[in-house]
Point group: D2
Chain length 140, copies 4
C-alpha cells in the first residue's frame, strides 16, 4: 500500500527556549504517527498489531532542519522497511511540501519495534497475520 501519511499539528508548547520544535519532541511526533498507523491497520484488536503490544527497542533520528511553530500541520510519511521474525523497522520522513511540489525535510528517522505479550511484556514473534499487514506497508 505504500507510505502511510500522518498530518500532525505542532503545538506551541513543542517549542523550546530556542523557539524551535525541540529535538526531543520530534520523537514524540513519531510516536503519535505510529499510534495513528496502528489504529488505521488494526481492524481486529484481538488478532492484529496493537499499539499496546509494541515497544521501541532502537530509535535513530537525523535532524535536517529546525522547525518554528506555525498552526499548519507537518507531514509524516512512514513505511515498514523491514519485517523480521521478532521485530520490525519503520522509517519516517517528516516534511513540508513547498508550493512548487519540492520537499522540505525536517527529520529522517528509523525505529526498531518489538512485539510483546500483553500479559507480561515479554518479546514474542510476529504472528503471520501481523507480518502480512507489515509487508503491505512497505515503500513501494
Amino acid at each position: 500500500m505504500g507510505r502511510h501519511v500522518v498530518d500532525l499539528k505542532p503545538r506551541w508548547a513543542d517549542m523550546d527556549a530556542y523557539g524551535h520544535v525541540n529535538n526531543v519532541t520530534w520523537l514524540e511526533y513519531l510516536q503519535e504517527a505510529r499510534v495513528d498507523m496502528f489504529h488505521a491497520y488494526t481492524s481486529d484488536p484481538g488478532e492484529g498489531l496493537l499499539v499496546e503490544g509494541v515497544v521501541v527497542s532502537r530509535a535513530v533520528i537525523d535532524y535536517k532542519r529546525p522547525l518554528v511553530f506555525r498552526p499548519d500541520p507537518v507531514r509524516i510519511e512512514m513505511w515498514v522497511s523491514r519485517a523480521g521474525v521478532a521485530s520490525f523497522t519503520i522509517d519516517y520522513e517528516v516534511l513540508d511540501r513547498a508550493d512548487d511540489g519540492s520537499r522540505i525535510v525536517y527529520v529522517l528517522a528509523q525505529t526498531v519495534l518489538v512485539p510483546v505479550t500483553l500479559e507480561d511484556g515479554r518479546p514474542r514473534r510476529l504472528r503471520p497475520q501481523e507480518r502480512k499487514v507489515l509487508e503491505g506497508l512497505g515503500d513501494d
Copy 2:
C-alpha cells in the same frame, strides 16, 4: 578526565500509559545531562562551549530495559567519543548500580552535536579551546 556523571531524578510525569518512563522522555534525560555537562565545563561563557550554541544533528538510542518511576535518581554516564572539525559525538549510558556493584543498564545512546554561531545559528568549526575541553572528556 573520563566520564561525566549526572544523577537525574525521574518525575512521575515521565511515565506514560504503560507505567514506564516513555521512550521519548529518555531523550529529554540526555538533553538535561548535556546541559549539566556544558555548565560544568564552561567556566568562561564568552570563550568556551555554550549550551546555547550547540544543536543536535543525530541521535541514536538503544532501549535496553524499561524503567518504572521511583523517587531515586538514575545515573547518566557520558563522555565525548569523537571530536571532529565541525561536530562531536557524546556517548551515554543510563543505569543503576545494584548493591553488589553490578550495572543495570536502561539506555545506551549517542548524539552528534554541531556548534553553531550565536548570531544566526549557522554551523561553525570547533574552536581550539573547545576541542581541548572535549578531548579531556573522553572515556579513559
Copy 3:
C-alpha cells in the same frame, strides 16, 4: 461574535500512568486554544493582540471527568468574560458533543491574562483596539 471554538486532537503522550489525560496537560490544551484564538483575531501583528505579548497571571481549572486517549479531537469553547484596564479573563469549556446533542464536559477553566510590552515584558494597559477585539469575543 460569541464563543471561539478549537478542536484539539489529543496525543497518546498526553496520557499519564493512570491512562488518562493528565491534569497538567489540560492546561496545555488551554494554552494551545489561546494561541489559536490570538492567531484568528490578530490580523495586524503590529497593532493587535499578540500571543507573544500576553502572560498568564492566574489559572483556575475544575476537572469534571477523566478523558482517555482517542484519535478524535475534543472541543474547546472559549470566550472573553472580562476585559479590564490592564488584564482580561478567558473562560473555557472542554467537552464532547454526544450524538443526541448533549454535552459531556471534561474541564471548566478560567485564565486571567496580562498584556506585557515586547521590549521588557512589563505589564501594560490594553490598547483601545485590543479592548474592542476582546469585547467582541464575549459569550453572547
Copy 4:
C-alpha cells in the same frame, strides 16, 4: 508537623519559547511535590494515602514572577489547608530564599484532591487514619 518542603530541580526542557518555565509546567511541579509528600507520609501502602488513589478536582494557580532556567532547585512548601469528608485541599508556595533570608515567590497555588477507590476510581470518603495524617500536615 507543619509544611512539607520539596526541593525540585528545574529541567532545561521546562522552559518555553519565551525562555521561562512555562505556566503549564508549574502545575507539573506541584504534581511532583504531591508525589513526594504522599511517599513521605504513607508508610503502609495498604492503609494510608496513596498517590494512586487521589485525583485532582480543582487547581488554582497564581503566577507571581517568571523563572528562568538555572541548575539549582526551587523550593516548594506545601501544607494541608483543609481536610473534609470526601476531599482535602493542599496549598503551595514555590519560592527561592534570597541570601538575606527574604522570600522570592514564583507561584502560589491550591489544589482540591479527592480520594478514589483503586478498583473503579469512584470518589470515596477519607478514612480516619488518612484524616489523621492530613490534619498533621497543616501549616502550624
